[in-house]
């Protein structure tokens, strides 16, 4: 479905992605793990066209997307839930969700999806008139995911959805991610919480300073010595 081959990206002159290759097949949950600053967020931004692809190719649904503008890429069915939520703070919960469905024309289905999103996140329904900036951290993360879902994506890119959340909430968020995937959305999940990510993913990639250093089934990565040492904190 999505395939990055030998992608290089730069900030100014600094090479941040040094030729990474990642594949995501339809229906999968793929985890992308790595330390802070490894280039995970940049990878997602390169996919979405927010960061330019210097060298290499990105294909989505058999279409070359590496030089398309963000709006075109989004139109093809990729939606990103950015790191740190990036909500429209001064807009209400409902307005944020409406921004998610901005591109869509299917009014009836938007309504249905909105209902569906409220079912997954009942708290958002209760607070739909509240400004996004006044929600708690967990609620904000839920809104960010819900807004991503309102785009009705075929591929959902999640950037550190567990960041800064209490453990119970982390569990809840991961349950929801699993559920979204079951309902048919392919997911590329970026996480520092490697254990959680790998335990719900089919496959995983490990990134270090702009390179993919390891890729395998999530099940195998959980047993991999290097992963256990570096990312799971188990000797």
């Amino acid at each position: 479905m999505l395939s990055l081959s030998q992608v290089h990206s730069y900030y100014d002159k600094m090479e941040v992605l040094k030729g990474i290759s990642i594949d995501v097949a339809e229906g999968e949950i793929v985890a992308l793990i790595g330390a802070n600053g490894a280039g995970k967020t940049t990878t997602l931004n390169a996919i979405c066209g927010v960061v330019k692809v210097g060298k290499g190719k990105i294909r989505f649904l058999d279409k070359e997307i590496s030089s398309l503008p963000t709006t075109e890429i989004v139109k093809l069915g990729i939606s990103q839930v950015p790191e740190g939520r990036k909500l429209f703070q001064d807009m209400t919960v409902l307005e944020n969700l409406e921004m998610g469905s901005y591109r869509r024309r299917d009014k009836q289905e938007i309504k249905r999806d909105l209902k569906h999103v409220y079912e997954i996140f009942p708290v958002l329904f209760e607070r739909k008139k509240q400004l996004a900036g006044t929600l708690s951290g967990g609620e904000q993360q839920m809104l960010a995911i819900a807004r991503g879902l309102m785009m009705k994506p075929r591929l959902l890119l999640l950037d550190e959805p567990s960041l800064g959340l209490a453990p119970i909430l982390v569990n809840q968020i991961f349950e929801i991610i699993k559920k979204i995937n079951k309902l048919g959305t392919t997911i590329l999940l970026v996480e520092q919480n490697a254990h959680m990510a790998l335990s719900i993913a089919n496959r995983g990639y490990v990134m270090e300073t702009g390179k993919v250093v390891l890729e395998d089934l999530a099940f195998n990565l959980l047993k991999n010595e290097m992963v256990r040492k570096t990312y799971l904190g188990i000797a």
Binding site: V50, P82, F88, Q89, M91, E98, M99, Y102, M151
Partner: protein
């Protein structure tokens, strides 16, 4: 009383212009110094349309319009077609439209129509300025964009001087519909007897002075202007809060990258912001032309300076703040004139602004909501 009404009238114009400054700042972080000139052109377009303009002058304006229309059409077409056909189409479309405007300027058309067309023309002007002057500098240092904005303002002032000359112009009274004329019948106030037979709105529409109490009369034109200003602000509020484009504007003002991740075409939204801001600037220019009968190439600069202060006073980027700021400065200026400081009204406007900034650095409403 008269001073208060005048202050509110002037303040309304400032408010309409200030909103344009603040909307643009909110969305691209740039002080659009050419905004005052857009206001000026709004007033002049109406002037050129309601009076019979000479062939030479009409030709000059149409030439200017050719450039503006051409750029505007190009900017919309380039998303759909490749550059060359877009360019060709915009040239054809621009020529056609500006040829049409040639006749509009040459002859004299009804005021209302001119009002509406002027709003459209100035919107195009605003969109074209954004496209050629500001968009290429989107990621450049702020100072570069700021200098370009000042340059744009000077260029437009000189274009106006070239077309209409430096002297002051006024809308000819006989071409303005009686509804919005200031004069009373025979130049006199109506008697109580007549007044009692007419309703307030009839009076308003007939365009006479309205007696408030005792010897105090106010011009219905000014009331109409104030009401119209408020109406436009309500419409703007509805656009920004209830329509899809308005919500997208707010989203872009808060976070453009995330907005584009939602599939919002941020460049297009910026274009619309300029269109709306410029259209409101035109309204201010026309209303001011009606109320004060003096059009000059520097009117935009003068009003712009105060309106900018109003936008800062309201907390730049904050739309309701800009509106209130405009009214405050309008009132401050007329109070200054009332106590005999009419030479100092611009100084007073800035003094009030500075006072507010010192007391409330974030603007009257505290927090910049549009960001």
């Amino acid at each position: 009383m008269d001073y208060i009404i005048s202050g509110l009238t002037m303040g309304g114009a400032y408010a309409l212009i200030a909103v344009g400054y603040t909307m643009v700042y909110g969305i691209i972080g740039l002080i659009n110094f050419a905004h005052g000139e857009i206001y000026m052109f709004g007033a002049y377009f109406v002037f050129a349309m309601i009076v019979e303009t000479s062939k030479n002058t009409s030709f000059l304006i149409s030439l200017f319009m050719l450039v503006i229309f051409g750029i505007t059409i190009y900017l919309f077409l380039r998303d759909k077609f490749s550059p060359l056909p877009s360019l060709a189409l915009s040239l054809v479309g621009g020529s056609f439209l500006s040829g049409f405007t040639f006749f509009l300027f040459l002859t004299s058309i009804p005021f209302y129509l001119a009002f509406l067309l002027s709003m459209i023309f100035t919107s195009c002007l605003g969109m074209a300025i954004e496209f050629i002057a500001y968009r290429p500098l989107r990621d450049a240092p702020r100072l570069a964009a700021l200098i370009t904005a000042i340059g744009m303002s000077l260029i437009l002032q000189n274009v106006a001087r070239l077309i209409w000359g430096a002297r002051t112009r006024a809308y000819p009274d006989q071409l303005i519909p009686s509804i919005i004329k200031t004069q009373t019948i025979n130049g006199e106030f109506l008697t109580d007897k007549l007044l009692s037979k007419m309703s307030f709105f009839e009076l308003l529409l007939k365009g006479h002075k309205i007696r408030i109490f005792g010897d105090t009369y106010i011009s219905s034109l000014k009331i109409l202007i104030i009401l119209l200003t408020i109406l436009i602000m309500i419409i703007l509020h509805l656009i920004i809060h209830k329509t899809k484009i308005g919500k997208a504007m707010r989203a872009c003002a808060q976070d453009k990258v995330t907005a584009s991740l939602m599939g919002i075409d941020t460049d297009r939204i910026i274009t619309y912001t300029f269109a709306i801001g410029s259209g409101m600037g035109a309204v201010a220019g026309i209303l001011n032309g009606l109320a004060y009968h003096n059009l000059s190439p520097t009117m935009g600069y003068k009003a712009g300076v105060v309106a900018f202060a109003a936008a800062v006073l309201g907390g730049i980027g904050n739309i309701p703040g800009a509106m209130v700021g405009g009214f405050i400065l309008g009132l401050a200026q007329s109070i200054a004139a009332w106590i005999g400081l009419s030479q100092w009204i611009y100084g007073v406007a800035y003094a009030v602004m500075i006072l507010f900034i010192v007391l409330r650095p974030t603007g009257i409403f505290g927090k910049a909501t549009a960001r």
